[in-house]
């Protein structure tokens, strides 16, 4: 089991030169999940039929609400944007064999720091100066927060999963303490928030598609991190460390630095999600920025097999289901949890389908293990 886990998490480097096997593997990467989604849909249809609801209506609404109209796409992409960042926060450390589940904490602190650093400049500061400042503050806050998890892990041997979870609760406490105390805007007595940063500091929409720039930055970051993890010495060293720490040490790799840097990159990514929550959506920091994207991001990362590029489509897929969830609630009178049931079922089946890898006969050599 443990070796399987390690392989799934460290995504073994693609050394195969044989192009037929490569094509077969790519084909598998598409065909298997597709079959899994169909099986999950079939199982869910049985569930619906048992409840006396129409599966056909359900899936038609799922399509319409998530991908069927221009507005639906806008809705889907808006929901996908933060997931890209938070999933990257999981995927990068995962290459080193670390399971970080507290990305939400970095998101919260990142958003809070972005809003806090803007306060002295509200109303007069040049956006060209203040906006980058906010962005850097958010990324830095996130980097320090998750970087600290890396430091604890390497230098104190504190388990990163539990440390990052604990730090999430602490991050929320820190934000609430300031937002309801020293940095509270008296103009907003019923929703404790920092001062509104004002329109001039807000991030706008990408022209033509009506989704904020966070989406473009997220896609860019995902591509950049894919290059970093797959095409650079750093990424190579990180993967070796993820595969076997002792081997990495034996080769003289700076394991500690790799761990802390990866964690810091991860945290910066989640911090940026917080920046866009503040600067593109809320216009201020308050408890609403902790909307759970950090936790959904864990799921996205695992479904994307910790591959930064795969995170983009998986985020859109999830965003689409979330977007359609509302329509399904409204039209079919089903509770909000319906979508969680579907997602949970789909993920279980998708993850189970991993077991079929190399067994479809598409790679030329069945049952490679």
């Amino acid at each position: 089991m443990s070796t399987d886990t390690k392989m799934a998490m460290a995504a073994p480097s693609d050394v195969g030169g044989d192009w037929t096997r490569r094509i077969g593997r790519s084909l598998e990467a598409v065909v298997i999940p597709l079959i899994a989604v169909l099986i999950a849909a079939a199982l869910f249809s049985i569930f619906l039929l048992m409840l006396g609801k129409s599966p056909i209506q359900f899936f038609a609404l799922l399509w319409q609400g998530g991908f069927g109209t221009a507005f639906s796409w806008q809705n889907t992409l808006t929901r996908a944007a933060p997931l890209i960042f938070t999933a990257l926060c999981v995927a990068v450390p995962a290459r080193l064999g670390m399971v970080i589940i507290g990305g939400e904490g970095a998101l919260v602190l990142g958003g809070f720091c972005a809003a806090a650093i803007a306060i002295p400049f509200i109303g007069w500061g040049s956006p060209f100066l203040v906006m980058p400042l906010m962005l850097i503050a958010a990324a830095l806050a996130g980097a320090v927060w998750i970087g600290f998890v890396g430091v604890l892990r390497h230098y104190r041997g504190v388990n990163e999963t539990i440390a990052s979870l604990l730090l999430y609760y602490i991050a929320v406490a820190i934000m609430n303490f300031f937002v309801e105390g020293a940095l509270r805007d008296p103009a907003n007595p019923n929703k404790p928030s920092t001062k509104t940063i004002g329109d001039s500091l807000m991030v706008g929409d990408i022209p033509g598609i009506g989704v904020h720039w966070g989406l473009a930055v997220g896609v860019g970051l995902a591509v950049a991190l894919w290059v970093l993890m797959n095409r650079t010495k750093f990424g190579f060293a990180a993967r070796i460390t993820g595969g076997n720490v002792r081997a990495a040490r034996a080769q003289g790799l700076p394991v500690g630095r790799l761990i802390v840097t990866s964690c810091a990159i991860a945290g910066a990514s989640a911090g940026l999600a917080g920046y866009f929550e503040v600067a593109a959506i809320q216009g201020k920091a308050n408890a609403s920025i902790a909307a759970g994207y950090g936790f959904t991001g864990i799921l996205v990362a695992f479904l994307a097999k910790q591959n930064p590029l795969a995170i983009i489509p998986v985020s859109i897929f999830l965003g689409g289901i979330a977007a359609a969830g509302g329509l399904i609630q409204r039209r079919m009178g089903m509770p909000d949890a319906t979508v969680s049931v579907l997602m949970g079922l789909m993920f279980v089946v998708l993850l189970v389908s991993d077991t079929l890898q190399g067994k479809l006969g598409l790679t030329g050599k069945a049952g490679g293990r």
């Binding site: 089991m1 390690k6 440390a163 602490i170 997602m343």
Partner: protein, 306 residues
Amino acid sequence: MNESGLSVVLLAMFAGAIRVSTPFLFVSLGECLTEKSGRINLGLEGTLVFGAMTGYAISYTTGSPWLGVLAAGLAGSLFGAIHGYICKLPKVNDIAIGIALMLFGTGLAFFLGKPFIQPKAPRLPSLQLGWWSDNPSVQSALQINPLFFVGVALAFLLWWAFRNTKWGLIVRMTGDSAPAALAMGYSVNWVRFIATTIGGFSAGVGGAFLSLYYPGAWNEGLSSGQGLMAVALVIFARWNPLACFGAALLFGAAGALGPALQSVGITQGYYFFNAAPYMLTLLIMIVSTSPKRSLKGAPAELSITK
């Protein structure tokens, strides 16, 4: 804070430790067993929530809260069995499956639990152990649910069984070295399946405690991550059932600190007092571990400790 304030806070922490710790105790003992066998089930939060819903629903429909506890345990073991079965398939990641089952379990619990939010189900009784005191606060603190004692007994039993029984040895061996267990003729997958299923049962019972005793209601906000935190406490407790008990008590007591301090007039900075359990746990971990010692007690096959 004057002397009476101090005694109020201490009493509240003592009472809180007993009242709040039980779900943590059951989930962490279940997870401890699962992890000792070499697998991690991160989905116990979903199991806990589903157990809470099932327990409440069965207690309401049958009128017997103890039947509710049993049903919650059975529902939990079903989730454990699903996890245990799936994870024996090659190339399947146990952590990912856990996260997916967490979503599935909570989603299904919310979906099926809608009709049970309004009704009032019979709650579990408690043992009145404070008869000797005439202080109503002490009496109340010593109203203890039998499940707490079951949990304590379970902690000692597991601790003893891991060391002294053949079963304990098999579980530990499976967790430390699958090839060794195989060589001895034991089916690694079967042992892990059983361990995860029993672990799920325990987590389900922990959920029933939440909905049927304290706070004693079913709604969608019932668990604020207790299941997830309990899994973390196992690592904190270094896979020792007795330490799991201690960690659960500590966590419960620290959780009572925030409200108790406010009740005696220490009202500033309550966000940090409320976060005390998390800060305390982190602090203890930082102080008590070192890069070399951290793996002591850790099952070598466990993916999360690598």
